[in-house]
Symmetry: C2
Subunit: 550 residues, 2 copies
C-alpha cells in the first residue's frame, strides 16, 4: 500500500506550516485551577520503577543505503572490551544498550596511565535511533527549540568520579566524545549503566507464541513504547515535549488496559486535565506537569472532546464509578461547549476560535472530521452517563446525535464518490472518512468500508501524516468489519517501522521518507511516541491478526 | 622600572617551552603514603565559610586601548533593572559582581510572557577579568587542557527552577548566553547569587587609614587573592590547577600569618605533602586533594627544599612544636636527599634527574639559584631544629652550610661584574642574585644590593617572568636593607596590576604585555593566583612602605 506524501518538504514550507498551525492555537486565558482535582492527581503520583542495564556493545554507524534510517550499526567492541578501553582527548565512541529506555545514565570515570591533572570535558549525545548519533545534531534546522536536542556537555573535575547525568533522556545509543582532557592521562568508563524509569510495575503477558512473528514484534515494540512513555503521567514522548497530551492519553490508556494496567496513572491524568481548564471550562490539550502542574493554553476542540471518551473508557475498563461521577460535571461541560460549535443545520462550524488538531497536515479541511469527533463524543458521553446512572443529565442529547448524523449523511456525503467530503471545496481525506465511520454516520458497513478504501487509494484524497490518524483509520476499519484491511494497514505501517529497525514506535513515519519531519529536522523527531503504541490494543482487545492463528 | 621580556611569544615557542619543562619533570614512582599524616590532614579539613553576594550591575565590555586588559566595562543596567529584564534565545548579558570570588552561582530561572514549552539551554562563562568574557574562549590555543576553560553549557528542563551550578568557579563576571529556548516565552533571572567560599573565618585588620592609597589597595587585593585561594587547602589558583603547590604554599602561609591566621590549614597542607612523598622520600611539588588526597608525581627540587622552610615558619608563627616534631623526620629526609645533589666542590649539580622550578623561564640556568635555595633551606632547617630542640640531629650541617657559602663566593661570584653567575656560560639572572642574597652568600649588604640592582637593570640579565620570582627578589631586597627599592618594586609590579584593574593578583603579569601567557592563551591564565599574594606580608610583617607613614 503506498500513499502520496502530503507533508511539506522545504524548510520554508515547514516553518510556514508550523507557524500557521501555531497561530491557529488561539491562546485563551486559564480558568481557576480545581484544587480538589489537582490534589487527587497529586495523591495519585506513581512511584517510578528503576531497572538498570549495562551496555551490550560499542558500535559504529555505517552509512547503508539499504537501511531505512540510512545507517546500520556495526559492533566494534564487546561490553567487556569497552570496560578495558582507554580514551583520550578527541576520541569518541557509541554505546549500544540494545533497546530503548527512558531514564538516566551513570558511569564511573577513571583516570589511567597517569594522574588526572586536569578536568575532563565530555559531550554525550543520546540517540533513540542510529541517525541521532550518526549525523551531527548541528547545524539544526527545526522549528522547535534546539533546547530539545538530546546532547549534554559537561566537565568532571576530579577523577575517579561517579557521574550520574541529572537530566532524564530517551535513548538506546549514547555517543560519548572526550572533548578535552590533559594529555597526561587517559580515561576509562566503568559500570556504565542506563537507569530505565517507568511507572509500569508489571510485565504484560506475551502474545501466544504461535502468533505471527511480525505481529509479536509489533506488539513488543508497542509495549516498549508505552512503557517508556509511562512516567508520572502518560507522556507523549520521553525525548521531547514529555507532556501529557489528551489526544495521546486516550491511545495510551487503551493500550494500557490490555497491558500494564497502570490505571491509576490514567486516573491521575484525567484529574490533571480536569484540574487545569480554560476559563470557559474546556479541557486543555495538554498539561505541564513539572515543576508543578500548570495550565498550558493549548486547547484543541477534538482533544477536549476526546476527554469524555477517555473518561468513559476509563470507567468501563476499571469500574471506577466514583471517579467517573466526580469528573462527570467536567464531561457535561465539555459537551455543552462542544455543541456550541454546531450550527442550526446540525453541522460543526469551524470558526477558528479554537483549533482542531485531527492530524499534522495544514491543508486538511477539518470540519467533517470534527463532525465525526463530536458525534462520537456525544455517543460516548451518553454511554458514560449510563455507566454512572446519570442518564437524565444528558437524555436530551440523544436527539442531537440523531440530527447531527442525519445532517452529515445529507450534506457531507457525496453519493457519486461514495465518500464524505469536507468544506466548501468538498475536500476528500482519510481523516473525514475515519471519523465519519467511527461516529456511525455511514448507513452500513459497506458504505463505511467503501469510503475508507477510496480515501486510502484516491490520489486526491489527503492521506494521514501521523500515527495518530493512522490509529483512527485502523480503529474505524475495525469498527466496520474491515479486519483484514486493518491488519494489513498495521502490518504496512507499524510493521514498516519495525522492519526499519524501530525499538519503539515513532512520532513521525511516512513510509519511504526517512527524512520526513513536520518539525523541519529529523533530529527533533521523537522516536518513542505514545500515539504510536496502539497496535497492542488492536491485537489484545480485538484479537486482530490473532483469531485465526490461536 | 622596565625590564626586557624573556618569555617566548609565538605559539610554537610556547608549546616547545612547555613541552621542554614538562619533559624535565621526571616522573618517579610514588612512595608509600603515610597513613598517620594523611589522617591528620583529614582531621584538619576546614569548614568553608559561605557568603552570598548579589550582582552589582549588568555591564558590557568595550574595547579600550587605554585599558591594560584592552577592555573597560560599561554599566548597562542596575541590578534592579536586571531583575526585571526578560531574555530570549540568542541574547546574552554580563553580570558584574563587583569583585572576585571563588564559589558557586545560583539563580531562579523563570518563564515570562508565556508558558515554558521547551527547556532552556544556557552557556555561562565565568570571568575573573574583562577579557575572559569579552573575547570568545574558542578557538583555544593554550598548552593546558581546554577542560580548564571556565564555561558551562547546560539545559534547564522545567521552569521556574532554582539553578545552582554544581561546579565551583572563580569569577567576578558571568556572561550568560541564552543558547536555545522556545520563542513562546522569555526568561528572567531572579535572585542571582554568588556563593563565595573560603576557609578564612576572620577578616584581617585593615592597614592604618593614613597609609598610602596605592598600598592599601595592593594590600586589599593581596588579601582578596589569599582569601579566594584559601579553600580546603591553600590552592595555587581557584580557576585552574586548584591544587596545593608547595612553592605557592610558603608564600600563602606567610601572608596568612599576618592576615587570616588560618594556621590549621597550613598544618593540614604540611601533613598532606608529607603524607604523599616520592618513593625516595622527597616531598612532592603538589598534591591532588580530590576526590581523595593522592600522589602527583611532580617533584621539583626547589619546592621540596621549601618544605622545610615552610615548616620552620609554621612552627615559628604558631609555636606548634608538636607538629614540628612529628614532621621533623620529613624535614631531615629532605636535607639528606637535597645534599645528595651537592658535589664535592660544595656546589649544586643539576643532573636533570629532578626538575628545579625557580621561575617560568626555560633558558634560565638554575644551578646558582639552587645553590641559594639549598643554603637557605639548610639554614632554616637548623633554625627549625633549635625551635624543636633537635639541634643534635643536624649539627653536622653547620659546616656544610659554611662550605657551600664559601664555594658560592669563590666560584659563582664575578668580581668584575659584582654579580653571581650561573652555569658554564656564566649566565646572569635576577633569580641567581635573589637566591644568593636570601641565602646570605654576599659578604655584605652592599655586595648583595649591587648584585640585585645590576640584575634588574642589565639587559643581558634574565628577568623574572612570574610573581613567584618577583616575590623572592623583593624578599631578598628586604633582607639586605633595600627597603626603598623593595617598595618601589612592589609599587611597580603589584601596583601595576592594581592599576590595570586587578581585583586579585594574577598568575602571569609582564608589565606592558597584556597578552603574555606562558601557557599559550591568556584564557588559561589564572587571575587569582596564590603566589601573587605576598605584598600583605611585606607590609604587615616588615612594615614595608608603612613605617614612615604611621
Amino acid at each position: 500500500m503506498t500513499m502520496t506524501n502530503n507533508s511539506p518538504t522545504s524548510p520554508e514550507d515547514i516553518a510556514a506550516t508550523f507557524a500557521a498551525m501555531e497561530a491557529k492555537i488561539v491562546k485563551l486565558p486559564a480558568g481557576e485551577p480545581n484544587a480538589l482535582f489537582l490534589a487527587r492527581a497529586e495523591a495519585l503520583m506513581p512511584v517510578l520503577q528503576e531497572s538498570c542495564q549495562s551496555p551490550i556493545s560499542l558500535v559504529r554507524a555505517l552509512p547503508d543505503a539499504d537501511a531505512y534510517l540510512r545507517f546500520r550499526m556495526e559492533v566494534v567492541a564487546t561490553a567487556a572490551e569497552f570496560e578495558r578501553s582507554t580514551w583520550r582527548q578527541g576520541q569518541e565512541f557509541i554505546i549500544d544498550f540494545g533497546g530503548h529506555r527512558t531514564g538516566h545514565l551513570s558511569f564511573q570515570l577513571l583516570a589511567v596511565d597517569g594522574p588526572a591533572d586536569s578536568p575532563v570535558k565530555l559531550r554525550l549525545t543520546f540517540g533513540e535511533v542510529p541517525s541521532d548519533v550518526a549525523v551531527p545534531l548541528y547545524p539544526y534546522t527545526g522549528v522547535l527549540s534546539a533546547a530539545w536536542l538530546p546532547d549534554e556537555t559537561f566537565t568532571v573535575d576530579d577523577l575517579p568520579q561517579l557521574v550520574r547525568v541529572p537530566r532524564r533522556h530517551a535513548f538506546r545509543f549514547v555517543k560519548v566524545e572526550v572533548l578535552a582532557a590533559s594529555s597526561r592521562f587517559g580515561v576509562q568508563f566503568h559500570h556504565v549503566t542506563a537507569h530505565a524509569l517507568t511507572a509500569a510495575s508489571k510485565q504484560p503477558e506475551p502474545l501466544a507464541s504461535a502468533s505471527p512473528e511480525w505481529l509479536k514484534r509489533v506488539d513488543e515494540i508497542s509495549i516498549a513504547t508505552l512503557r517508556d512513555c509511562l512516567q508520572t503521567s502518560f507522556e507523549d514522548g520521553p525525548r521531547r515535549d514529555r507532556r501529557l497530551w489528551l489526544g495521546d492519553l486516550r491511545l495510551q490508556a487503551l493500550a494500557n488496559y490490555v497491558s500494564f494496567e497502570a490505571n491509576d496513572v490514567v486516573r491521575r491524568c484525567l484529574y490533571l486535565l480536569a484540574g487545569l481548564p480554560r476559563a470557559d471550562g474546556l479541557v486543555n490539550g495538554c498539561v505541564y506537569e513539572r515543576p508543578q502542574a500548570s495550565y498550558a493554553d493549548t486547547v484543541m476542540l477534538d482533544y477536549a472532546a476526546i476527554y469524555n471518551v477517555t473518561l468513559q473508557e476509563y470507567v468501563h475498563a476499571t469500574g471506577d464509578v466514583a471517579t467517573g461521577k466526580e469528573l462527570w460535571p467536567v464531561a457535561l461541560r465539555q459537551i455543552e461547549l462542544l455543541c456550541e460549535t454546531v450550527g442550526e443545520d446540525d453541522l460543526f462550524v469551524d470558526t477558528g476560535a479554537t483549533f482542531c488538531f485531527i492530524d499534522w497536515v495544514l491543508p486538511l479541511e477539518r470540519s467533517t472530521a470534527m463532525q465525526g469527533v463530536l458525534i462520537f463524543t456525544l455517543r460516548r458521553t451518553l454511554l458514560l452517563a449510563s455507566q454512572l446512572g446519570c442518564e437524565s443529565d444528558v437524555a436530551h442529547y440523544a436527539e442531537k446525535i440523531e440530527r447531527m448524523v442525519l445532517a452529515a449523511r445529507e450534506k457531507l456525503f457525496d453519493v457519486s464518490l461514495g465518500m464524505f467530503v469536507s468544506g466548501p471545496a468538498h475536500q476528500l481525506s482519510c481523516a473525514s472518512q475515519a471519523w465519519m465511520v467511527l461516529s456511525g454516520v455511514p448507513v452500513n458497513d459497506v458504505q463505511a468500508a467503501t469510503a475508507l478504501r477510496q480515501a486510502m487509494s484516491l490520489p486526491q484524497s489527503i492521506k494521514p501524516a501521523t500515527p495518530y490518524l493512522y490509529h483512527y483509520i485502523v480503529e474505524a476499519m475495525v469498527t466496520c468489519g474491515m479486519s483484514d484491511e486493518a491488519l494489513a494497514l498495521v502490518r504496512h505501517y507499524w510493521g514498516g517501522m519495525a522492519d526499519a529497525g524501530a525499538d519503539t514506535f515513532w512520532e513521525v513515519y511516512e513510509p519511504g521518507k526517512p527524512l520526513s519531519s513536520p518539525l523541519g529536522d529529523i533530529h527533533i523527531n521523537s522516536y518513542c511516541h505514545a500515539w504510536s503504541c496502539t497496535p497492542s490494543w488492536f491485537f489484545r482487545a480485538f484479537g486482530l491478526g490473532l483469531k485465526s492463528h490461536t
